[in-house]
Each structure stands twice: as C-alpha cells, then as structure tokens.
C-alpha cells in the first residue's frame, strides 16, 4: 500500500513540474527513481531507449513501466493517471479562460506574438530530429522518398510505415 502511495505522489509531482515536456522531465524522474530505488541504472537507460523506439510521450512510458514494476497493471494505471492529472487540469483551466477571453483585444495581441513563436518551437524540434535522422546517404534517400510520397498526398502514418520498411531493407 505504502509503495502505491509513494508511486502516486512521485508521479503527481513529476507531472506537475515537467515544463518543456518530454526529456525535460528526465532529471525529475531520476530524482524520484533514486529516492525509492525503483530501477537500476541500466533499467533507467533501457527505458529511455524503449521510449525512443515506441510511440507516445516519454512521461507515459516511464509511468507505465515503473508502475508495472511496483504494482502490476493497476500500478501502471495509477502512475500514468497521476502523471497526466495535473497537466490536464491546468490545460482545462487555461482552455476555459481562453474561450472566455479569446476576443479580448489584449489576448489577441499576445496571441499574435505567440503564434510565430510556436512555429519557431516546431522548427527547433525539427532541427533536433534532423540531427538524429541524417547520419548517412541512405537516410537522405529515405527522406527524398518520404518527401515525394507526402507531396502526392500519402497519409502521414503510411509514410512513416514506408520509412520503417525502407529502414529494415536498407540497414
């Protein structure tokens, strides 16, 4: 029981303080993992590896994995629920405020600054992904094929599957 309470408390805290999303919460996670001894050093890095290889937010991956070790399926459900609880509540509050104030002139002005900044955020993520993606000539070929497929209107998910298939064939 105490183990589950610790689990819930730790993941509530991780969710509430992981600004910047994704890998920004790794230091917070390490702190809690070391405090309770949930994972060995090797396991910790294994999960980071698995997170890169599987879809979905890193936070959810860690919560599910550690939760499973501590309390099986329900441990997973508890930790995952806790890690997203605070963010979801905050987003709902923001959403409610925003729909009430959307047409207020000063909110509009702020959004005029935020929209270009958001594009910059996506662009900087793009550069980060590019650094890990283009390591050899083969990756340029895959990118070229993916570009042509996207241009022709292929569904993004199918494009990813084509990329994965090419990866298995070429590497």
């Amino acid at each position: 029981m105490q183990a589950l309470v610790n689990l819930a408390r730790a993941f509530l805290q991780i969710g509430a303080f992981s600004f910047g999303g994704g890998y920004a919460m790794i230091p917070l996670l390490r702190e809690q993992v070391e405090k309770y001894g949930w994972l060995t050093e090797g396991e910790f890095f294994d999960i980071i590896g698995i997170s890169e290889m599987t879809p979905g937010p890193v936070a959810i991956n860690f919560a599910t994995f550690i939760g499973f070790k501590v309390g099986g399926f329900w441990g997973s459900a508890l930790a995952t629920g806790c890690v997203i609880l605070v963010p979801v509540i905050l987003v709902l509050i923001l959403a409610r405020l925003f729909s009430a104030y959307e047409d207020v002139p000063w909110v509009k002005r702020i959004l005029q600054g935020l929209r270009p900044a958001t594009i910059a955020l996506i662009a900087s993520a793009l550069l980060f992904v590019g650094k890990g993606a283009f390591l050899d000539a083969k990756s340029l070929i895959i990118a070229g094929i993916a570009g042509i497929l996207l241009q022709r209107g292929l569904h993004p998910v199918l494009t990813l599957i084509v990329g994965a298939t090419l990866g298995v064939v070429l590497y």
């Binding site: 969710g15 509430a16 992981s18 910047g20 999303g21 590896g49 698995i50 890169e52 290889m53 599987t54 879809p55 979905g56 937010p57 890193v58 959810i60 599910t64 994995f65 997203i84 605070v86 963010p87 979801v88 905050l90 987003v91 959403a95 925003f98 729909s99 002139p105 000063w106 002005r109 959004l111 005029q112 600054g113 935020l114 929209r115 270009p116 900044a117 594009i119 910059a120 955020l121 996506i122 662009a123 900087s124 993520a125 793009l126 550069l127 992904v129 590019g130 993606a133 990756s139 990118a143 993916a146 570009g147 998910v157 990813l160 084509v162 990329g163 990866g167 298995v168 064939v169 590497y171």
Partner: protein
C-alpha cells in the same frame, strides 16, 4: 463526434515517434485539413497554450483540442486516446521483452522512420509558416524565438517573451491608429 475524436487521438498516440512535436503534422492533417474542426490559426493558439502548462505536449494538446471541440468530455476522450497506445505497448514490453529496443530489425525500422518523421515535420513547419508568417513582424518574432531556443533558453521563457512582444506592439499600433 466523441468516437471520432477518440479514434483520431488514438492514431496520433500510436504514431508519435520522436517526441511531442512529431505529432504536430498528424494533428494538423486530421483536425484542420480533413475534419475542418479547427482553423490553422486556432490550432497554433491551441499549441501555444498547451505548451504553457507542464506535462507531455501530446497529452496537453489532446486535452485542449478535445475541450475546444466537445468540452470536458471531449478532453477526457482525447487524452485517453492519446495515452492508451503507449500505455498498452509499455505494458507488453514490461511483461514480455525487456530487451525489445536492442533487437536489430527494430533498430533498423526506427532508423528508417526518422528521416520520414523529419520530412513530415518539415511539411508542417512550411504549411503553418506560410499561413502565419505573412508580415515582417511575425517573421522577426519567429526568427528571434528560434534563435533563443537554439541558444538553449527554456520554452516557457521564449513564449512569455513572444507574448509580451505581441502585446506591446499591438498596444503601439492601437495608439497610432486612434
């Protein structure tokens, strides 16, 4: 619509490899282009606000878009959809094969997927950029923000700065036009 919302975010959750921003093209296509539920401007507003809160971007965006379309129920359905695939996959990984990530074919598949992810995101940046960066002001703000992000400034600091600039500049324009 709730069912469709769930399925769309389930799909998004299942295919967001490479971090939160990799799902931007997927959401844009499903929610803006195909369903026409949001305009690109609305979508960018959603992203800007979703990343002002702590937590995973995919979850926050799901919550925000779900709320915008169908209130609290919409938010819950979208979050559930976005979280479920990785939850299920990790349960399987945790119970059966710990060493899944080190299998050679799995690694090859992901190496192949990365350039495809890059192209997807590049398309999203280009299409959103074309619609939003149509005056000197927004281009300058975008360039400045990108520069600061590359220098390693935290996301929320850059967002606060950009919001402040938008506010100040709008205020000046109001004053000069009246």
């Amino acid at each position: 619509m709730l069912g469709k919302l769930f399925l769309i975010f389930l799909q998004i959750g299942a295919f967001t490899f490479g971090g939160g921003y990799a799902m931007v093209p997927l959401i844009q296509r499903e929610v803006c282009t195909k369903q026409g539920w949001l305009t690109d401007q609305d979508f960018l507003n959603c992203l800007a606000l979703a990343q002002s809160a702590p937590g995973p971007l995919a979850i926050n965006t799901a919550a925000y878009i779900g709320y915008r379309l169908r209130g609290t129920a919409g938010a819950l359905v979208a979050v559930l959809g976005a979280a479920l695939p990785s939850f299920a996959i990790i349960i399987v990984v945790a119970s059966f094969f710990n060493r899944f990530a080190t299998l050679a074919p799995v690694q090859a598949a992901f190496r192949g997927m990365r350039p495809a992810i890059f192209m997807l995101m590049a398309y999203a940046v280009a299409s959103l950029g074309k619609k939003t960066l149509h005056d000197k002001f927004s281009i300058i703000v975008a360039m400045m923000s990108l520069g600061l992000l590359l220098l390693g400034l935290p996301t929320f600091v850059v967002l606060i700065l950009a919001g402040t600039i938008g506010y100040v500049r709008g205020g000046k324009r109001d004053a000069s036009s009246s």
